[in-house]
Symmetry: C2
Subunit: 337 residues, 2 copies
């Protein structure tokens, strides 16, 4: 009897969830999505966005998608594609990852990143990195060249040196407008819980599906503006900001990291697909519009399943995002269109 | 049709899983378990264990259970009970947490801990702490007195100072036999992936259910012997080493942390209960004997549901563990009896 009840609940749940996912992207039936990226979710207002500014964001998102797509076209793996796309976003000053990251209350950039391989469930993550040019490369190196999953702080830097990764002075990451943001934030007295504003949050991430049928996901961030106390958000937490499992989907998240950790959002989406039988769109919608929203958290995810079905779901006014399908067709979006 | 298929799978799964859980503890029908603890899973061999040594372990496990049970008896919360029990284990030199922790390859103790409230899904975690006497207290302070979930390294110490937590020199944590272990490990050339031996791993943790019907979980560790590079294991990762959700159960894990992170073991158990309809025993068995074992990982979990049903599941020869039921009856076990 109990089993029957559970069964009935399981059957009813997908139908219910279908009804509450207006923003979930429905991949067309003919073209599989092979790569998707995000550049952060938040209050991205059309008021503050000039056409020139929007064009700059679109150009970098396109560049990241093209870099990842080229890797896939040449027979590279989904891991390679995720890294290629995220490197472009890290190197761009427009996003809160790598160059252009937000600053800690001490005025330094401290970067977090993670990556996961959906085929093997191998994963790598770093937090509090100050001198590694591309934290996503370091996360991958942790996954592939160390027995560990997560390295933090000085130890992560030492490992990066041993692995010969490119290092830069911390100033490389710091742009004048970030110093100005920090100065204004200090003047206002540094709210304990920063609101989810553009540039305050805004992580980058990518999910990919390669010709071998394997999924991968990666995320990179500077965290939150004015952060103190060695705060670690969800981006380097496997299961919170990043997860990939060929049996379900690949996910990268962005938003108020504390909520994503508490709800284990990325793993929750995988679990909803594996154990509740939801589609990727239903699972992502349930996690963001259900769990996250109920808890009072804000942000979004991109989630790609093994059939190339993509969900891009967020409960903020906007999320920088884009995807490319198997034919190379690129779509870029910013607002909740 | 697809819904029906899912429904049938869901009905079949519990029965299947029932068949593979010989070590799952079955709480008696009359007495609910209100508190359970573990002191690490590993190769705990009867050969090396003298009666005196075993007695010392049993005495501390009992002391921890009594401390937590007293809190519950006096109307304290499950969070209070978890903290009270873990403090005893941290203060004891016998376990790899707080005093008596293993050492990094630099000869220092670097401690990790986390805690989670099943009622609110609030959580706190710290990693790489060197001078806070009881890391579990700091994790709780992060949960209750900061807007963040996870603080690492120097920032976590600074926060501890601001909060007035008791601090000690790093030497407080370091015992002669740990220095000797590190010396021997160095002589042998420090295997990159330490095996799961007694004292090499061996985290402590607690799960509790209070009279208000609320669950809580906590975990504390020194990590792995000879660790380098600021390695962070599963203990401070919400969803991996610790999770609590009144809608399912409270979990604390111990073992080869990298596998627990990659499989998000603690959240996986919660998800199996919520979305696949498994009991706590079935879900813990599926995670440890299914997922973890398939991946090649070793370790165990304690998991307590809202009805006082307890699962203590591990795929190692032994796990220091114990529990107390609502009548105050204490049970302590070490081997796979």
């Amino acid at each position: 009897m109990k089993g029957l009840l559970i069964a009935l609940l399981m059957v009813g749940l997908p139908a219910f969830l279908n009804s509450l996912q207006p923003e979930a992207h429905e991949a067309s039936d003919t073209a599989r999505v092979v790569l998707a990226i995000h550049g952060g979710a938040g209050t991205i207002s059309r008021d503050r966005m000039t056409p020139e500014r929007e064009q700059r964001y679109r150009a970098v998102l396109r560049e990241a998608l093209e870099a990842g797509y080229q890797v896939l076209q040449e027979g590279g793996t989904s891991l390679d594609a995720v890294v290629a796309a995220i490197r472009v976003l890290e190197d761009s000053p427009l996003f809160n990852a790598g160059r252009g990251a937000v600053l800690t209350n001490e005025g330094t950039a401290e970067l977090d990143a993670s990556i996961m391989d959906g085929r093997t469930l191998q994963a790598g993550a770093v937090a509090g990195v100050k001198t590694v040019k591309n934290p996503i490369l370091l996360a991958r190196q942790v996954m592939e060249a160390s027995p560990h999953v997560m390295l933090v702080g000085r130890g992560a830097e030492t490992f990066a040196q041993e692995q010969g990764l490119e290092q830069v002075p911390n100033e490389y990451f710091i742009l004048p407008h970030r110093r100005e943001q920090l100065r204004r934030m200090r003047e206002r007295g540094m709210g304990a819980v920063p609101e989810l504003k553009e540039h305050t949050y805004g992580t980058v991430g990518a999910v990919a599906l390669d010709r071998y049928g394997n999924l991968a996901a990666g995320t990179s961030t500077g965290g939150i503006m004015g952060k103190r106390f060695g705060r670690v958000g969800d981006s380097p937490i496997i299961g919170a900001g990043t997860y990939a499992d060929n049996a379900a989907c690949a996910i990268s998240a962005t938003g108020q990291g504390e909520y994503f950790i508490r709800a284990a959002i990325a793993h929750e989406i995988v679990a909803l697909m594996k154990y509740a039988g939801l589609t990727v769109e239903q699972a992502a919608a349930a996690a963001i519009h259900g769990t996250l929203t109920r808890m009072g958290g804000r942000g979004g995810v991109i989630a790609l399943d093994r059939n190339g079905r993509l969900a891009m779901v967020f409960n903020t006014p906007g999320m920088y995002r884009g995807y490319v399908d198997e034919h190379g067709h690129i779509t870029i979006q910013i607002y909740r269109d």
